[in-house]
């Protein structure tokens, strides 16, 4: 008897647990505490403060990614046969399970938590946590993977850690058409309710081809680059490819970088940083934070607390559920941030785009505000947010996209970056920054808005 899940994006997702060993393994993995934890982490973090229905979880997304990965593995088999090559069933198994488990290492509020950790000097990113959770000898994931095949846990963890592809199966978890991207673009659009950003999924999948692309980033020296096979698109799908990239761009612009969402992220970041200081510093952490002794946040941020066990105890639900306790903290920053977040009493936003599109004018206004509110920026009553930017080839976080994440079209049989073939995409090449300030006091925001204008 097969197992079935209903999904708003993909419809029925079937696990053939009797006949398909990978489906059987996947179904068992869903029941592990490490995977169940993903039900308590929102896919879009705090976007629900802006888009109230965007409460879908990394659990639902991960199942959707697994389902999409199955489609991509079939595409690889189809294309390898077209190229007179034989598919590799063992590599396909690794890619499928890696797709399912790729988000295990996300912390609460995902990137927000990562930035707090970054600012504290912690070096471990969610990809490394994912690999560690998979390899964890004391965990529930590893025994299931090893029972499937000896050495399987290491194969899955290593695939997810690798930054650059070595073969086509890596494309399932990291490429311009990886399963993650193909799920989240559709799921986030559906769950936020935004009308923008649809993709022509079936047509794109039908036109995926496998061809070798240059892997080395271009740097003007025209040296012969290494190549690796990845997903490209037949030229017939150029309009659908443009739409696909626009969908990603639009979701960044309208959803992920929405000013209210970014403001809430900044506030949660400030709250968590203050809790981390209290937990790791001198004084009574319980009193300072309002959290009970042994609370997972105190354990994790305490000395030597960054263990897999403590990390897995953290999730969005835990932190939201602790806001009321933290609102009674002795530390004024923790108390204020927690109470504000609990009651959605947000900082007030000033987006520098209000001053017009001219970059010079925006930069001048930013400098004026930084000078005028220097003390309040230093003590957190004003928060500066000028690190978000989107370009058609910039990854979240701003770094340049890797070559295998760029979209290639087969132009006369040669994989060619889409910006060479599409005027539409070329127009979106320059990175666009989002510069905002968030003010604890509305009067300060209004003063900055007025004072920052040309006199």
């Amino acid at each position: 008897m097969s197992k079935r899940l209903r999904d708003p994006v993909h419809g029925l997702i079937v696990f053939d647990v009797e006949n398909d060993p990978v489906d059987r393994l996947a179904w068992r993995l869903l029941d592990t505490p490490e995977f169940q934890r993903l039900r308590r982490i929102h896919q879009l973090g705090v976007s629900e403060f802006t888009f109230p229905s965007a409460v879908h979880t990394r659990f639902a997304h991960s199942v959707g990614v697994f389902h999409t990965a199955r489609t991509l593995v079939r595409v690889i088999a189809r294309e390898m046969r077209r190229n007179d090559e034989a598919p590799d069933a063992r590599k396909a198994e690794v890619a499928l399970i890696a797709a399912l488990l790729h988000d295990l290492g996300h912390g609460p509020f995902s990137h927000t938590f990562e930035h707090v950790q970054e600012a504290r000097g912690a070096r471990k990113r969610h990809e490394q946590w994912t690999a560690e959770i998979i390899r964890n000898p004391a965990g529930r994931i590893r025994p299931l993977l090893e029972a499937f095949r000896a050495g399987f846990a290491e194969e899955v963890a290593a695939l997810l850690e690798r930054e650059d592809p070595e073969d086509i199966y890596h494309a399932v978890v990291s490429s311009s058409f990886d399963a993650d991207r193909l799920d989240y673009l559709r799921r986030d659009k559906l769950m936020t309710g935004t009308g923008a950003g649809g993709i022509d999924f079936d047509w794109l999948v039908e036109n995926i081809r496998v061809a070798p692309i240059a892997l080395d980033a271009p740097d003007g020296d025209e040296a012969t680059p290494r190549t690796v096979p990845t997903f490209c698109l037949d030229r017939k799908a150029l309009p659908a490819a443009e739409q696909f990239l626009l969908a990603r761009y639009t979701l960044h612009e309208q959803v992920y970088f929405h000013k209210t969402t970014r403001c809430v992220e900044a506030m949660i970041g400030r709250l968590l940083a203050a809790v981390a200081d209290a937990a790791s510093g001198a004084g009574n952490a319980v009193e300072r934070t309002g959290l009970p002794a042994g609370h997972p946040l105190l354990r994790f941020f305490g000395k030597g607390g960054e263990t897999v066990e403590n990390y897995l105890a953290l999730d969005d639900a835990l932190i939201f559920g602790s806001l009321d306790a933290m609102a009674k903290a002795a530390d004024p920053v923790i108390a204020e941030m927690a109470a504000r977040l609990r009651d959605r009493n947000l900082y007030k936003t000033l987006d520098l785009a209000e001053f017009g599109a001219d970059k010079g004018r925006q930069a001048s206004r930013q400098r004026w505000i930084e000078k005028e509110f220097a003390d309040k920026i230093a003590n957190g009553r004003v928060i500066r947010d000028d690190k978000a930017a989107i370009g058609i080839y910039a990854e979240i976080g701003g770094d340049e996209d890797r070559m295998h994440k760029r979209l290639h079209i087969l132009d006369g049989g040669t994989p060619t970056e889409i910006s060479r073939l599409s005027d539409l995409i070329r127009a979106l090449e320059p990175k666009k920054p989002f510069r905002r300030f968030y003010f604890a006091d509305k009067a300060d925001r209004d003063a900055a808005r007025q004072g920052g204008r040309p006199r």
Binding site: E118, A119, R123, R125, A158, E161, R162, E163, D164, E166, I213, A214, L215, D216, A217, P218, D219, G220, D221, E222, A223, P225, R226, K359, G360, Q362, A363, D386, K387, A389, Y393, E395, G397, G398, D399, E400, R402, M403, R406, H408, T414, P415, T416, E417, S419, R420, L421, E429, P430, K431, P433
Partner: protein, 174 residues
Amino acid sequence: MTVEPERVVDEIVAAAGGRLVSRIRLQKLAYLLDQLGARSGFRYAYHHYGPYSRDLDAAVFDAEAFGLVEERYEHRKLDGARYSIFERKAEAGPPAFSYLGDPRLRDVVKRLAAVNATVLELAATAHWLAANEKAQDWRTEIIRRKGSKASEGRLAEAMQLLAELGLPPAAAQG
């Protein structure tokens, strides 16, 4: 005193001869300069091309906004892959080096501006792993993360570069 962020971009481009190719090269160059004693005030985090600074990314916008540097794009002949070219604008005037006040640092920029971006990435990553992540076995870790990118003599070239600059892990070994 920390220099204005746009000055960092402007001075690096100026020291490179008024023109610098690739955002990746700019990022790795700034990182290595900071390890050599330049004080950009930027914070770095590990990204897929190695140490990366969002502060520097924002500084590029400022350098453009204040009319110091212009970013334009060219495409690799082979596959049309786009890359950035930063050029100083004529109206920026002659550079008054403060962040790169030390002429040795300006020589480093000149030297690194001509180094392959992947070699720079490997050099900056090796340094990051050894100095920041305190990786016990940075060589195994860099091969695990970078795969074949670290082969074909590139890692050796990166180590040679770090040795030349006197930076770990190459300098520590030597």
